[in-house]
Symmetry: C2
Subunit: 338 residues, 2 copies
DNA sequence: ACTCAACTTGTTAGCGCTCACGGAACACTG
DNA sequence: CAGTGTTCCGTGAGCGCTAACAAGTTGAGT
């Protein structure tokens, strides 16, 4: 079978005109069939589809993007980390976007500073991304966003919940922290200690705020915060300190890996969990149920966050750019550590 | 300042011709400056750069792709999971590719079956991706790749190490398993039990093979395999079984999360680790050092795997499509669980 | 039959870039 | 000064698609 009868061009991907020629119609009709335009006769549509099939034709997205001026591409800026929260979020978002026929292009940055973020956003603008999502969990990352042009829809995830004028989706860190703290208080503990994430993360700040508020509302003493990063190692170090203070009976860790470190410190120091001290985490990592003991923790719903981010972005893409905030409320998963 | 003096077109992104007009040169000269073509006078280059700066010009990638027929885009097909291995790999790859000026577009699939994989690959082909990476850790995923056209460079990661005729990068699962098993044998254990990952994963099969080989070479009894998936939950269940058999003194778990489940099962059944039974994992997840006890495990170097995959893909893109296999050897991280 | 409105299809002109030329300017030989 | 490179720069065509218009076809309503 020879499809290139009228052309000497050798092996090149078939283009719309090739399909048109084979089907005996104009390339525009092919375009109409492809884009589901209503006014095409059924018989013609079938002929075109057959020709597409026969040639193995696949539309060239670059040409379409050039002609329309808009792409089906969503750019995502994320940090280079394997932290559970961000990576689950990313995976959920990619899946949701693909379901809507969008291509997701991820740009990782090594550090969340102003320069890296703006460069990554700029990169996506160069691709003529239809929309951009920035996972901006720190103040520096968020600040970088104030200086990017606003001609392409942009939604930030995990950004500054206080910032106005921006489309934002995040989980309600404060509410989650209140859930955890209240749970410990209700179990009869005098007060609750807190091992915090890095202060420049909104997540960490929000969780700390929720914890503090709950203690203040309950009228109990607010003990000093143990600072840490998100790692099990730093949780372990903080746990070692807390373990030697007999008055510590309840600890709210800013995430599950910190909690894991604390659990180990307690175990080493001979303080039983939950017998002597209760521990509650945050994130509900898949293995949290198999810590020793199984960890009571706060579960943010990343699927919902991703879905909300996509829906917000899509509404921005389709014109109604509203600087809306969507907050997703987490839930408490009770296991045996508290 | 009015840059659109000679045109009534309103607000549109500046194009190459706009820059050319402002700089008093032809659009082709602008193109040459942008692409670092040598034969441009220094003075002209500066004028063009100034015009670019002044207009805030950014090249349109879609137009470039259309004109050249090739994009700077690498398509990745990955499964929708938050498993540590795949997600670290992905992150490392994205970072490496970005460093080389490539755009990475990720397509997640819910399940690793034939249909999903081919659809995802097809999707990337439609984007005219310069190269495609498929993370194909199961037989079904790998099989799907035999039927995709080979006109675009494709490298599989974590695919079937036995498959010929394909560019492949993977970690040497067998070697890692041998390391772990030998370590336990050398510590004086009679034999080593194995909790395996899902049988249809090459990773799991390779680890099991390495374990079995080592035992056979040592001339010791090969106990039955405890089947599991990758989850801590299934590790726990397997651990419960093993814990009640007094002859079990050493367990090699196919990954760290399984090991975590086993650790908990042992702890619940009152069998101390490493006193009564030793446990070794695989992956070296960040928190492995904070399990109770800290986990001895095998560490695959995902950064290297990602770098090799990229380099293989790049050599494919630049013409020398060789069906090369690159195997990355893991190392043993000794902690306290063995 | 004739008119007017659908429906259906084709024609043309770009989108913004690169590639293949060709021509001008400038240097160096002899 | 003609001849020959070499550097520099511009012109025109075309990548494969969509948007806008034009034009042909059908079917109903009168």
């Amino acid at each position: 079978m020879d499809h290139t009868s009228s052309s000497t061009r050798t092996n090149r991907d078939p283009a719309m005109t090739d399909v048109a020629r084979l089907a005996g119609v104009s390339h525009q009709t092919v375009s109409r069939v492809l884009n589901g335009h209503p006014n095409v006769r059924e018989q013609t549509r079938l002929r075109v589809r057959a020709a597409i099939e026969q040639l193995g034709y696949r539309p060239n997205r670059a040409a379409r993007t050039l002609a329309t001026g808009r792409s089906q591409l969503i750019g995502v800026v994320a940090q280079n980390s394997t932290l559970f929260g961000p990576s689950s979020l990313l995976a959920a978002f990619e899946l949701a976007a693909a379901a809507q026929g969008f291509v997701v292009s991820v740009r990782r940055v090594r550090v969340l500073d102003r320069g890296s973020i703006t460069a990554a956003v700029e990169h996506h603008r160069e691709q003529r991304a239809a929309g951009i999502v920035v996972i901006a969990p720190t103040a520096a990352a968020d600040a970088a966003l104030t200086e990017v042009p606003t001609d392409v829809p942009l939604v930030t995830v995990d950004g500054d919940p206080e910032r106005a004028g921006a489309a934002l989706v995040t989980v309600d860190q404060e509410a989650g922290a209140r859930l955890a703290t209240r749970h410990l208080l209700d179990a009869g503990h005098e007060t609750v200690w807190h091992v915090s994430g890095p202060e420049d993360w909104f997540d960490a700040a929000g969780r700390q705020r929720g914890w503090r508020q709950t203690l203040e509302e309950a009228g109990v003493e607010v003990p000093p915060v143990s600072p840490a990063d998100w790692s099990a190692a730093s949780g372990y170090r903080a746990g070692l300190m807390l373990a030697r203070m007999p008055e510590v009976t309840a600890v709210f860790a800013a995430n599950d890996h910190l909690a894991l470190g604390i659990l180990r410190a307690m175990s080493e120091r001979g303080r039983s969990v939950p017998g002597d001290v209760s521990v509650v985490g945050f994130d509900d990592v898949p293995e949290a149920g198999y810590f020793i003991p199984p960890l009571t923790t706060v579960r943010p719903d990343f699927d919902t966050v991703a879905a909300e981010a996509l829906s917000l972005l899509l509404s921005g893409i389709s014109g109604e750019q509203r600087a809306e905030r969507r907050i997703v409320t987490p839930t408490l998963v009770e296991r045996e550590s508290a």
